[in-house]
């Protein structure tokens, strides 16, 4: 690391180890791994948007096993209840008393698969827990374990039978990353690796191995490494000039003629936090505009809503955001 403290160098080694280990299972999703690590280091939550089959679940599973974190996965469906995630009081027939049975949310890494398939009250329960990091079951309040990271996924193609997350709840996600299809060479590598998977004998029969079966190696880091990384992120320097860029960008989102709903202060906070984490991941102990440019889309796009006229004329939030980034520093309206 460039002039970085020793602990930051260790963190860099830890990060590289995680990336390499995840890379042995998941191909061509380095940016997504980076975003997950950013969220993990800053205590934010991530929403991954992508069509099925882009290894979202595998990626999160691989990450949890690489850092030795508890991992739980909840498939969101229309009939899911808040108690199915948070937990509930059940009657113990031996003692004739109620006892709390904690839900899958009590974990370090929670994969909320297809979050938009659940009813709004379930989404609301999860997002509230994400924000407050504690859950009340009956009359008792429980703190969620640390670190606690929710990685939610949603499929942008299928809209039938889904409940779109409103802006206020999307705002709870620090990052919303849109996954793209892998590049041609990555696609080739995926196929080659998959073809090398064998058959695993089990009981009297055998099952075909999947990528999940490969995740059997020991973790490359512990939760202590993770805490060290989080502390290192907090030491990353943020210059006033960098803050000025963020303030300018957030302000532009609120006054752009094609934007109906601009970014909240939470977006600015998320930009600073995530930029610090990205700087660390790229071996710097200070943020530069490159971090802002790289993360603006994931941090800001889900917090902006275009006006109807702009949407009707074929404009996208991405186009408008790119224009705002290019116009940074120029007088507004020029």
């Amino acid at each position: 690391m460039h002039n970085a403290p020793t602990s930051a160098r260790d963190t860099q080694a830890f990060v590289n180890g995680v990336r390499e280990r995840v890379g042995t299972v998941v191909v061509g999703q380095d940016i997504v791994v980076e975003r997950l690590l950013i969220a993990l280091f800053t205590g934010g939550h991530v929403l991954l948007q992508g069509v099925p089959g882009l290894a979202k679940t595998l990626l999160v599973s691989a990450l949890s096993r690489t850092i030795d974190l508890d991992f739980a996965r909840v498939q969101f469906t229309i009939d899911l209840l808040p108690a199915d995630i948070l937990g509930q009081e059940v009657l113990d027939q031996r003692t004739n008393e109620f006892r709390v049975r904690k839900g899958p949310i009590f974990t370090n890494l929670l994969l909320a698969d297809e979050i938009n398939r659940a009813a709004p009250k379930v989404q609301g329960a999860l997002l509230e827990a994400m924000q407050e990091r504690k859950v009340t079951i009956g009359s008792e309040t429980f703190k969620l374990p640390a670190p606690f990271l929710v990685i939610a996924t949603q499929n942008p193609v299928e809209q039938a039978g889904t409940f779109e997350l409103p802006e206020a709840q999307l705002d709870r996600f620090m990052l919303v990353h849109r996954l793209n299809y892998p590049r041609r060479e990555d696609e080739r590598e995926i196929l080659l690796r998959n073809s090398r998977l064998g058959v695993q004998r089990s009981d009297k029969g055998a099952i075909v191995q999947t990528e999940f079966d490969v995740l059997k190696q020991a973790p490359v880091g512990s939760s202590e490494d993770l805490v060290a990384a989080m502390e290192a992120v907090n030491r990353v320097h943020v210059s006033e000039t960098f803050v000025e860029h963020i303030v300018d960008l957030i302000d532009r989102s609120r006054h752009h003629p094609e934007v109906e709903l601009g970014c909240s202060p939470r977006a600015g906070i998320s930009l600073v936090k995530s930029s610090r984490a990205r700087a660390l991941l790229h071996g710097r102990d200070y943020c530069v505009p490159e971090d802002l440019y790289a993360l603006a889309e994931d941090v800001m796009l889900h917090r902006m809503r275009l006006k109807y006229e702009a949407i009707a004329s074929g404009r996208t939030g991405k186009q408008v955001l790119h224009e705002m980034l290019k116009a940074l520093g120029a007088p507004q309206g020029a």
């Binding site: 000039t241 943020c287 940074l328």
Partner: protein, 277 residues
Amino acid sequence: MLRAFATLCLVFLTMTASPAQTGRGPRESTIGLPAVLEDVRLAGSELEARKMDDLAPATVRIIEAWPDGENQWRYKLEWRAFTPGEHDLLQLLRRKDGSSTSELAPLVVTGTAVLTESGVVKPTAPQATQLGSTGGYRLMLWVLGGAWLVGLVLIVRALRSQRVQAQAARSISLAERLRPLVERAARGELDQRATAQLEAALVALWRKRLQLETQDPTTCILQLKAHAEAGPLLRGLEQWLHAPQGRTQVDVNALLAPYAHLSAEEFGALLEAESKR
């Protein structure tokens, strides 16, 4: 009583049996226009129309004739006057058996003239009215379409000239806002906001110079930092503006030297030349 009733019946019969001038129909008509008298009862033998010459003041034609009791005929007559004034139609009739018609009362009709007595027709004075629209709705549509087209052309030209002016203003504004920032930075007078503007303006300048404006901002900044000429400058700028203070000594004057000697116009010309390249 019975005598009185008999007297009344006699009077009635006498009245209904009146020999002539009992016809129905107009006794007055415009010259030249025919009129028809019906149920004209004339005593005596049957009558017929006299032969008349072209100068006859009136003509009569017996359309139909029926015997009407003893020694009386009922006629349907068509008459036409050619001169104004009264005419006795009986003068135009004669008995078929050649007997006289002198015992019959005159059957007078009147021809009225529309024209003046002098016969000179004075045309009606024309009334002053507004001229009707020239052409029809097709012409109106053509005119409206033409006007719309002309308006459209004017609007497009105005918008285009505005865009050209805005582009010119933008290129100048980039240069104009960069030059004083560089000068103030060299003197160490920049506040944080102006420093951020300076950095963004230099990135914008290089983006334009290297024709990377169509790239997305992330790819663009990575390419700029990897560029042989722009890379060192932008990395030095990052060190100066974003690294913790005292970490590195950056010579701001040397860093901004390539831009310090350029005037606003030269910046504009430079940008224009780069964009045309």
